[in-house]
C-alpha cells in the first residue's frame, strides 16, 4: 500500500472512530445525574424557564432525536450553546483551544527533545553514574503527577526564586497581540511584537515543563532500553567492523531504529497532554480548553462536554496518524508493507 492510500485509509477509519466517540460521549454526558436545564438555572428558577431551556436544547426529545439534532448542528459548525458561558460553544472552543494547543505543543517539544537526549545519554553511559542519575530522575518524573510538579514550580518560582513568570499567558503590563491564530507566540511574531513573544514564551515554560515531565522520562527510559537492546545486535558489530565512525553509528544505526517504540508511545502521550492539562491549567491560571472542559463536566454543560471531547478526539486521531507516518519513515518494514 502506498503512503497516500495508507493516509486515506487511516482518515477514513478515523471517521468511524469519531462517530463512535460522539455516540459514547453523547450518551455518557446524558446519563450523568442531574437535569442540565435545572442545574443551569438553579433550584429557584420557575418551571417555565426550565421547560423553555429544555426545549431550546432539545432535551424534551428522545435521545436518538437529540443526537440527530446535535450531529446536524456539528456538521455545519454549530456545537450548540454553553450553559456556563451562555454563548456558542464554537466561540468557546475558538477562544480556549489555542491556549491549550500552545501549551501542549511546547510540552511536546520538551518531551521529544529531552527524552531523546536523556535516553541516549543513559544508553551511552549505561550502568554508569549518568545512567543512574537519569534513572532516578525518570522514576521521580514518572511517579510525581503533573499537578504536584505544577504546585512545586509555583512555590519555587513564585516565592523563593521569582525569575520566571508563573501565572497566566502574559504579564499584566504586556499588551496582548491582536488575535489572529489565538496562539500568542505566533500572533506576536506575525505582528512583530517581540516583547509579547518573549513574555508569552516565558509564561509557557513552567506549565509546559510540569506537563511534559511524566511522558518525557517515560520516553527516555524507552529510548534507553531500545538502544541498549540494539547495541547487542549483529548489524551494529558489523558497522563497527567496517570502521564507520561512532557518531554515525550512534545516530544512524542505533538511535534511529531505537526511536520506533518511543515514538509510538510518544504519539499517545503527546495527544494525551491536552486532556491531562486540566490541573496544570487551573494551577497556572491558564485559560485553556482542558480547564473549560472540566468545568463543563462539573456543571453538566452538555454541549460543551461533547464539543471538548470531540475536539480532543480529532486531535488524538490526527496526532496518531502523524505518529504512524513517522514510525513508517523510521521503519522501512512498515513503510514498505513488510517487503524488506
Amino acid at each position: 500500500m502506498n503512503l497516500r492510500a495508507y493516509i486515506l485509509k487511516r482518515l477514513f477509519l478515523s471517521i468511524f472512530v469519531l462517530i463512535g466517540l460522539s455516540i459514547v460521549i453523547f450518551i455518557i454526558a446524558r446519563v450523568v445525574p442531574g437535569d442540565p436545564a435545572r442545574m443551569a438555572l438553579g433550584p429557584r428558577a420557575p418551571q417555565y424557564a426550565v421547560d423553555q431551556l429544555r426545549q431550546e436544547m432539545n432535551l424534551d426529545q428522545p435521545l436518538p432525536t437529540q443526537y440527530y439534532y446535535w450531529v446536524k448542528g456539528v456538521l455545519v459548525g454549530d456545537l450548540g450553546k454553553s450553559l456556563t458561558t451562555k454563548r456558542a460553544v464554537a466561540d468557546d472552543v475558538k477562544e480556549f483551544l489555542p491556549a491549550t494547543l500552545e501549551l501542549a505543543f511546547i510540552a511536546a517539544i520538551f518531551v521529544v527533545i529531552f527524552s531523546i537526549i536523556l535516553g541516549t545519554l543513559a544508553a551511552k553511559y549505561r550502568n554508569k553514574w549518568v545512567d543512574t542519575v537519569i534513572r532516578v530522575m525518570a522514576y521521580t518524573g514518572v511517579a510525581v503527577p503533573a499537578f504536584v510538579l505544577a504546585v512545586l514550580f509555583l512555590l519555587l518560582f513564585g516565592y523563593i526564586w521569582p525569575v520566571i513568570p508563573v501565572l497566566g499567558r502574559l504579564s499584566p503590563e504586556i499588551m496582548p497581540p491582536p488575535t489572529i491564530t489565538g496562539l500568542i507566540t505566533v500572533d506576536s511574531l506575525i505582528t512583530g511584537d517581540l516583547s509579547a513573544f518573549w513574555d508569552a514564551l516565558k509564561h509557557l515554560i513552567l506549565p509546559a515543563l510540569a506537563l511534559a515531565m511524566g511522558p518525557l522520562f517515560q520516553e527516555a527510559r524507552i529510548v534507553r532500553s531500545a538502544m541498549t537492546d540494539n547495541m547487542s545486535k549483529d548489524y551494529l558489530a558489523a558497522a563497527v567492523g567496517y570502521g564507520i565512525p561512532s557518531s554515525v553509528i550512534m545516530r544512524k544505526y542505533l538511535l534511529k531504529p531505537s526511536l520506533i517504540p518511543a515514538v509510538s508511545v510518544m504519539g499517545l502521550d503527546i495527544a494525551s497532554l491536552m486532556g491531562n492539562a486540566f490541573l496544570v491549567e487551573v494551577i497556572f491560571n491558564w485559560p485553556g480548553i482542558s480547564r473549560y472542559g472540566m468545568e463543563a463536566m462539573l456543571r453538566k454543560d452538555l454541549n460543551a462536554i461533547s464539543a471538548v471531547i470531540i475536539v480532543f478526539g480529532v486531535i488524538f486521531v490526527l496526532v496518531n496518524i502523524i505518529v504512524d507516518l513517522i514510525v513508517a519513515y523510521l521503519d522501512p518494514r512498515i513503510r514498505l508493507g513488510g517487503k524488506v
Partner: protein, 553 residues
C-alpha cells in the same frame, strides 16, 4: 573525551543554556513584580478579586456570587441594602404602598445617566422588570410569581401591581437591576421571546447596559471581568476610590497565594481553606477578614425516612453533636448557629432555645424514639459534598458523636450533581446531608420559605422533606404581612416551632473569610473589626465604589 562525547554534551549544554536564558530573561522585571512596585498594572488604582466564576453580567441571567458582585457595581437598583440591614433610597427617592399592599409606586431620581449617556427613566425600570420575569433566569424567580404588572406612570414614576400581598417585596428590589432599554433592544437578536427577540441576552454576555459606578471594559469568559470607573456616576466619587476593578475567575489556592504575594490581587475569594488562609495571613501586608454574610452550614435530616423520621431520634442527634469543636477547631471564627436563621438576618429570633451538646439529654431523647433498642437495624447515612472538602470534617464529627449514643453512621462522599439528583425524592434523600445554605433576600422569611416550605422539597435546599402544612401556612401568612414588625414577629414564632420539630441540625453561621491587602480600605472589613453588622445581601459587601486604594501601595 571522545568527539562523540563532546558532541552530546555540547548539545545538552546548549539546550540547557537556551532554556535558562528563556526562563531567566526578564527576571529583573518579575523580581520587581514580586515586590509590587514596578508594573503598570500595580501602579494603577485597582481592586482585583478572585471568585469561583467569572460573572454573568446579564442581570436577567446570573445569580451566583461573582455575578452578584458584578451587578452591585455595574447596575443600579431602586433601593440599596445598607450594612445595618435597612434599605436606602437609591434610584427611587421615595415610594408609597396602597393599603392592601398590592400596589407600589416609586419616584425615580431624575438625571441618572447610563454608561452610554442615555437618561434612566421609568420605561427602563418597567423593561428591566418585564425582562427578568419573562426570562425567568437569575433572580427572576423573586418576581415571577409576585409581580402582576409593571407600568410607567410618567418619566420618573413607576408602579408595580402584585399578584398577592408580599411583605418583603421592597427587600427583593435590591435584585431588580435596571438596564438601558434602548441600548439592549438596539442589540437584540432573533430569539425565543417574540417581539423582544433574544431580549439582548447574547449581547449582554460581554456588554453591560447599566448606570452603576463601574462600566465593563472587557469580559473574558472563564478568565476575568474588567471594569473601569464611570465618571458620570450619579452618586459621585470620593478621593482614592478605585479607578478599576477586576474579578478573576479562579479559586486555586497556590494561584491566589502567588497573586497575593506579587500584589497582583487585592482581595481573595471566600473558598480558601483554613490552611491556605493561614499562609495568606503570613504574607506581609495581607490581612484576613471574617464576616457574617448570611450563609449557614446545616445538617439536613430527612424527616420522611427511617430512622430520622422520628423527632426524638433527630433531637438525640442534635444533642449529641459537638458544636463547640466545630466553631473552636474545625471552622474557627464561625459562630454556633441559633436555629434556622442566621443571627444577623432581619427577623432572626435571638431568644430561641438552643441545642447544646448534652449526652444525657441525647440518650433520653433516644430512649423515647421508636427506634430505641433496635439501633443496629437503622444505620444513618450522612452525605457530604465532594466539591466542598471541608464538609468531610463535619461528617466525621457527626459519625463520632452519634457513635457515643450507639447510633451507627455511614459516611458517603457524593458529587454535587448526584446529590441534587438524590434529593429529588424522599426515598433517595439521605438521612443526613451536610450543606451550606443562604438566604435569597435580606429577611428571615427568605430562609424559612426556601428551607422549610413544602414547595422547596425536591430541591437541594430542602433535604429535610418537612412537608408540614402548619409551617407552610405560617410561612405564607408571615410573607403576606405588610407591617414589618408584625412580619418579623411571625418569623420568630415559626423559628420556635422549627426548633421544636428539629428537622435539621443547625451547625454554624458561616464567617466568610477573605484575604485582602492592607493598602485597600474595605468598609465591610472595617465594620467587622468594630463588631458591627455587614450587608448580608450577596454581592453588596463588595460595592467597590466605597472602597479606597491608599498610597501605601
Amino acid at each position: 573525551m571522545s568527539k562523540n562525547k563532546k558532541w552530546t554534551l555540547a548539545t545538552v549544554l546548549v539546550l540547557m543554556v537556551a532554556l535558562l536564558l528563556t526562563g531567566c530573561g526578564g527576571g529583573k522585571e518579575n523580581n520587581q513584580d514580586a515586590q509590587g512596585n514596578s508594573t503598570a498594572a500595580n501602579q494603577e488604582s485597582i481592586i482585583r478579586s478572585t471568585a469561583s466564576d467569572v460573572p454573568n453580567i446579564d442581570p436577567g441571567v446570573g445569580s451566583d456570587y461573582a455575578s452578584s458582585i458584578a451587578f452591585a457595581n455595574v447596575y443600579d437598583t431602586l433601593v440599596f441594602p445598607a450594612h445595618d440591614g435597612s434599605l436606602k433610597p437609591w434610584l427611587a427617592t421615595d415610594w408609597q404602598t396602597s393599603e392592601d399592599g398590592l400596589t407600589w409606586v416609586f419616584n425615580l431620581r431624575p438625571g441618572v445617566k447610563f454608561h452610554n449617556g442615555d437618561e434612566l427613566t421609568a420605561d427602563d425600570v418597567v423593561f428591566s422588570m418585564q425582562r427578568m420575569i419573562t426570562i425567568g433566569e437569575g433572580y427572576g424567580y423573586l418576581f415571577s410569581g409576585v409581580v402582576k404588572e409593571a407600568k410607567a406612570l410618567d418619566k420618573n414614576k413607576v408602579q408595580f401591581t402584585l399578584n398577592k400581598k408580599f411583605g418583603p417585596f421592597l427587600s427583593t428590589l435590591v435584585r431588580l437591576y435596571v438596564l438601558d432599554k434602548n441600548q439592549v433592544m438596539a442589540n437584540k437578536k432573533p430569539g425565543p421571546y417574540g417581539d423582544m427577540g433574544d431580549y439582548g441576552k447574547d449581547w449582554l454576555v460581554t456588554h453591560d447596559a447599566g448606570s452603576g459606578p463601574y462600566m465593563v471594559k472587557e469580559l473574558k469568559k472563564e478568565e476575568y471581568m474588567y471594569a473601569v470607573k464611570f465618571n458620570d456616576f450619579w452618586g459621585g466619587w470620593e478621593k482614592d476610590a478605585p479607578e478599576a476593578i477586576k474579578i478573576i475567575g479562579t479559586t486555586a489556592g497556590p494561584t491566589v497565594r502567588t497573586l497575593m504575594t506579587q500584589k497582583q490581587l487585592e482581595q481573595s475569594d471566600q473558598w480558601q481553606t483554613e490552611e491556605a488562609l493561614k499562609a495568606l495571613d503570613n504574607i506581609p501586608g495581607v490581612s484576613i477578614d471574617a464576616g457574617f454574610t448570611g450563609s449557614m452550614l446545616n445538617i439536613m435530616l430527612n424527616n420522611k425516612k427511617a430512622p430520622t423520621d422520628d423527632v426524638h431520634f433527630r433531637k438525640a442527634l442534635a444533642y449529641a453533636f459537638d458544636y463547640q469543636t466545630v466553631v473552636d477547631k474545625l471552622f474557627p471564627g464561625c459562630k454556633k448557629a441559633q436555629g434556622p436563621v442566621q443571627f444577623n438576618l432581619p427577623g432572626f429570633n435571638p431568644n430561641l432555645p438552643q441545642y447544646e451538646r448534652n449526652l444525657d439529654k441525647a440518650k433520653a431523647e433516644l430512649a423515647q424514639s421508636k427506634y430505641a433498642g433496635k439501633l443496629d437495624q437503622y444505620p444513618v447515612d450522612i452525605v457530604w459534598i465532594a466539591n466542598v472538602p471541608d464538609e468531610e470534617k463535619i461528617a466525621l464529627l457527626f459519625q463520632a458523636n452519634a457513635a457515643e449514643i450507639g447510633i451507627k453512621v455511614n459516611i458517603v462522599k457524593t458529587p454535587w450533581l448526584s446529590f441534587v439528583d438524590q434529593v429529588a425524592t424522599p426515598d433517595n434523600t439521605p438521612n443526613a446531608s451536610v450543606v451550606f445554605v443562604s438566604p435569597h433576600y435580606n429577611e428571615a422569611g427568605s430562609m424559612l420559605e426556601s428551607r422549610y416550605h413544602s414547595k422547596s422539597t425536591g430541591t437541594w435546599e430542602q433535604g429535610e422533606w418537612l412537608k408540614n402544612p402548619e409551617i407552610d401556612a405560617d410561612i405564607e401568612d408571615a410573607l403576606g404581612t405588610l407591617d414589618q414588625n408584625e412580619r418579623y414577629a411571625k418569623y420568630q414564632k415559626i423559628q420556635e416551632k422549627l426548633v421544636d420539630l428539629c428537622p435539621s441540625i443547625w451547625v454554624f453561621d458561616q464567617a466568610e473569610k477573605r484575604a485582602y491587602q492592607d493598602y485597600i480600605q474595605w468598609p465591610g472589613a472595617e465594620l467587622n473589626k468594630q463588631g458591627k453588622p455587614v450587608s448580608s445581601v450577596m454581592g453588596y459587601n463588595f460595592y467597590y465604589h466605597d472602597y479606597k486604594v491608599t498610597s501605601q501601595k
